[in-house]
Symmetry: D2
Subunit: 342 residues, 4 copies
């Protein structure tokens, strides 16, 4: 931690600052430059970060030298994390995760129809929402437990692991009974109590980036889950808010190699929520694979016109099949492992 | 709702679209322009908004004509809402809410010391966090129920209503026993289950704007609380994320008259979290009052150097006192009601 | 300048780095922390900033300690700059600048009508565009020199200094013949050749903040003008781009005290372009004064329905008059000098 | 153009609005919904867009139905534009443009060395800046005409077309004598006079997206050049400003298929300026090709430690060679034409 002093910082203020730093239990080193004096504070970075150094008179700025996440960092674990999600599905280390399914679970027949189609196309995990976070209280909020049961039955019938969103710490136990993997949505990325709660389960967590979260913020939220004892976190880039409204959000594909440099955790991309536009999803899926993503999450619906949530952004099963085919070729060229369609 | 057709939309597609719209139970009107054909869909706007019109072939765009919030809107209630927060403190309709206190509750003596100082300066509500949402799992997370008890005792001793953050639907009942008003933090603005939960209590809710939330998003979150039965929501502008890192967030003061035009709910401003810089807080407090805010929320600490959370952004009690003095004069000039300091 | 080394930086890399730094003519100091080694580089900060230190192997980050602007800084000049704009109009040091007029000059009669109205209301500088930067090549681009002549005649007739935009270094000489102050628009804030050109004149420059410029970027652009020899620069906050489309841009009022802390230059606010909404302009004008702005720039048109550019965001003269009246009272309360209406 | 009336719009106001619309020479159609009355205005969209409809009393909103660009649009020209840049280099229609070279021209020997290396690696256009737009007036501003001469000689010697930035309308004629293609930098994307000036030449223009420009804004700037008579515009995505400072800008790869859907113009990507981080450039180059880009623009320097501008973000020639090799394989897989290295 480096403290930059104000140009008019007095010797008395400097001496008060040094006393404070010593009182807090840290060592320090004063370095006098041409225009500014600096104080380098040495000690455990975590404790340093929480110390109110910036409130001490004479201090202009405090600059941190280390990243604030630990368990999620490459420095903690240098090789890529690889997780087994059940049913032989792996993610990380070159294994591609292909998650597909409808936005919301709407009934057993329609889910089974979509699930068969995406499995045939090559998807290896089935998604579907039973609890839906909707901006409006008047929108369809999901089927709840009834939806979870349907998702479980369809997953079992097709031998596919399933993933579904959990929005409330009170639902973690209930959802855990039906799902193979939790999804934490963008709006809950900093719902710290929910992160702690899923961190205490043994199921993998798909953690979506918040709409105004930096890559570092995303890794700090992953750190909450890791620090609670659950090591299986999969990051998901799904776009952030921007001034350009031609896409729903702004897909930040540089986040993929960026996160991979900082962390050992797998990271996948969700071009459906990022763009909100089916015409852009194929190109963004290919770009995700080329950027090094460990998988892609795509919404698919056999009849988008009838979907109860986000229909307009879903691909048709035949479109999804073409996208998977091309992603497979790209991944092969780039030396990644691609699951064979069943 | 207006549907804009693609330039190459065929008559068969148009006819399919019209059938679908009729099937969904809506009336429509086709209008053929020089370059584009439009279909105006007439019906209950809420149902319309949820209909997957954009997924129908031939559709280029769907434009909404009405705002998506109802109970929160000026159209629903044209005069300003005025709430009584207890102990004679009112907000809205020209009554200024002056919330002050430390970021986190750290102990009874220090809270009492700060509370006496802010009360003397003119604050009419005491704030203090017992549950703290922190980006890092390794930061101080608050004193929990012990902190709530301290807050209650200090509030009672000084006859001040108190406000504190609730982060988890499971804590709503607990927190309600000690607080006069809930605070929903920026990170939880779209934690819809938490909104529903506080919506079912009888206590007022201070709802902070999310870091990437539009003013309309903020009003939709207020709508969740109102639709759950709790009419006492106070909006709070606290800055949004921006590329300019010279302030912690970007304070959007135009949100104040903007929200007041759209909604009858009171709106206050939090310049402490918005700027993160004590040197900017006085100017932004005066600007808030001049912009028409119904109050200001400021962090005050008698010893920022020792604060356990956000110390560096707190004002000293004597600075706060000066700020209140000038806000009082401004408010008087602008015809607002200012609480007299005790 | 502080160089943070990578955790795996070798002694050979460190030694290569130190050689390079010495070769570039700088002194340095190595400081070994628990987890990271730092190298403090000492020397002229400008030259340091341009040295490609980050490209040297083993370097993780390079952190600057000083601000990159000099002539514009408070450290260079501690008291507020006060400029005389002619006809007895001053700006800075508590003197309020009230610029008003139509977006574009459309003809002599209408400009004279508007100018008389804004002067009567209390404006002390008349604005009007003769060269208009328009997003579309098919929009009205301004009257050119003919417009400049009209502006000059109207200004002379009413004894008001005038300000108009210059968009092209080739027009600087022409525009200088007719105007009392140049305006550099947001889109040209980083048109460095234009900045140099107006920097070589003797006329004051109203420099608008770019839509994605930080406060520091704005000050760097001012530095270009100051470094070219022209000391009379007035900054103008006019909103930046944001995801919330309910206002045209996002007015950043914290930029006012922020710039005032960093620089001695006056700063005014343009709520017309910032919000694009006449209903929000009054509140944002009052907030600007309360935030400490040295003036306000407002578009006024006597018949917005007929305006050839940006009509919908203009105030009517009678609305402007009310706004000035209230700004005057606020400024007086806050100890600022307000020009008396003629 | 659709006009949405305010809920309280009177019949008198409606009738006044209809008179105004007729006076402006447009037809209209009134449509009365349950909660809102709409007026559809029919006529030439360009003229409509410039009409101050929003300023007429009773109007709440005005919604445009058509895109504001014409010559740049897919509707105007449905097949991809393909341009010949000289020396047998084509762009568009599947032909990849591989631009490489140093940020700034620093001398003939070093440019020749770099140019030979990038040509050997497969680049087909050489870049180098002679006029540099620098945030600070104290940074190296480029070699000027001397640099242009060096660039021309090196391009001729190696039979490579060259591209260089032009910043000032006064330099267009000078630069045109030495370059094969103009570059308009991000900061000048809305320097409309400069756009007009290069629009009047016969040389292709590489138009970079501004830091706060939407894709539509970029196409409007292209429209300026096209409308001035120059049809050979190549768009360039180079990142926009965002709150996440881990990369220099935020690369918006969805802009590639998005622009391709809206326009027939080629679009390339500049991952160097977008990320500012050599470690992310390879992945973002592959992602660009996979997203459908017509080429990639990368800064390469044989000795980044000695570069006079942006050295730290340059790739080494050997890194560039590896990146080109993999891009070539990806492009082949995706059916694109790749230039053979010489």
């Amino acid at each position: 931690m480096i403290i930059v002093l104000k140009p008019d910082c007095t010797e008395t203020q400097l001496s008060h600052l040094c006393d404070k730093v010593r009182e807090m239990g840290f060592n320090y080193e004063v370095s006098r430059g041409v225009k500014r004096t600096l104080v380098g504070v040495i000690g455990e970075e975590d404790r340093l970060r929480n110390a109110p150094l910036r409130a001490i008179p004479g201090v202009e700025d405090v600059m941190s030298v280390l990243k604030p996440f630990k368990l999620a960092s490459r420095e903690f674990k240098s090789e890529d994390s690889v997780f087994d999600l059940g049913r032989g599905v792996k993610v990380g280390g070159g294994n591609l995760l292909l998650i597909a399914g409808p936005c919301a679970i709407e009934g057993e027949d329609i889910l089974l129809e979509i699930a068969k189609a995406v499995r045939a196309a090559g998807a290896n995990v089935l998604r579907g929402g039973a609890f839906k976070p909707r901006t409006s209280p008047y929108s369809f909020q999901g089927m709840g437990e009834e939806g979870l049961k349907i998702l479980r039955r369809v997953g079992d019938e097709l031998h596919m692991p399933v993933v579904t969103e959990v929005m409330d710490p009170r639902q973690v136990e209930l959802v855990s009974r039906y799902t193979d993997m939790f999804q934490i949505g963008a709006r809950n990325m900093q719902n710290f109590n929910l992160l702690n709660e899923v961190g205490q389960t043994k199921q993998p967590v798909l953690l979506k980036r918040g709409m105004s979260a930096s890559v570092e913020d995303l890794l700090m939220s992953a750190e909450y889950i890791l620090a609670s004892g659950n090591q299986r976190v999969i990051l998901c880039e799904r776009g952030i808010r921007s001034f350009d409204k031609s896409t729903r959000n702004l897909l930040d594909l540089a986040a993929v190699p960026n996160a991979k440099g900082l962390s050992h955790l797998p990271i996948i991309v969700d071009p459906s929520h990022a763009t909100g536009r089916p015409d852009l999803i194929p190109a963004m899926s290919y770009a995700s694979i080329a950027a090094g993503a460990d998988g892609v999450h795509i919404e698919v619906h056999s009849c988008p016109e009838k979907a109860m949530s986000d229909g307009p952004q879903a691909l048709l099963p035949e479109q999804y099949s073409d996208v998977v085919q091309k992603m497979r070729e790209l991944a092969k060229l780039l030396g990644r492992e691609v699951p064979q369609p069943v």
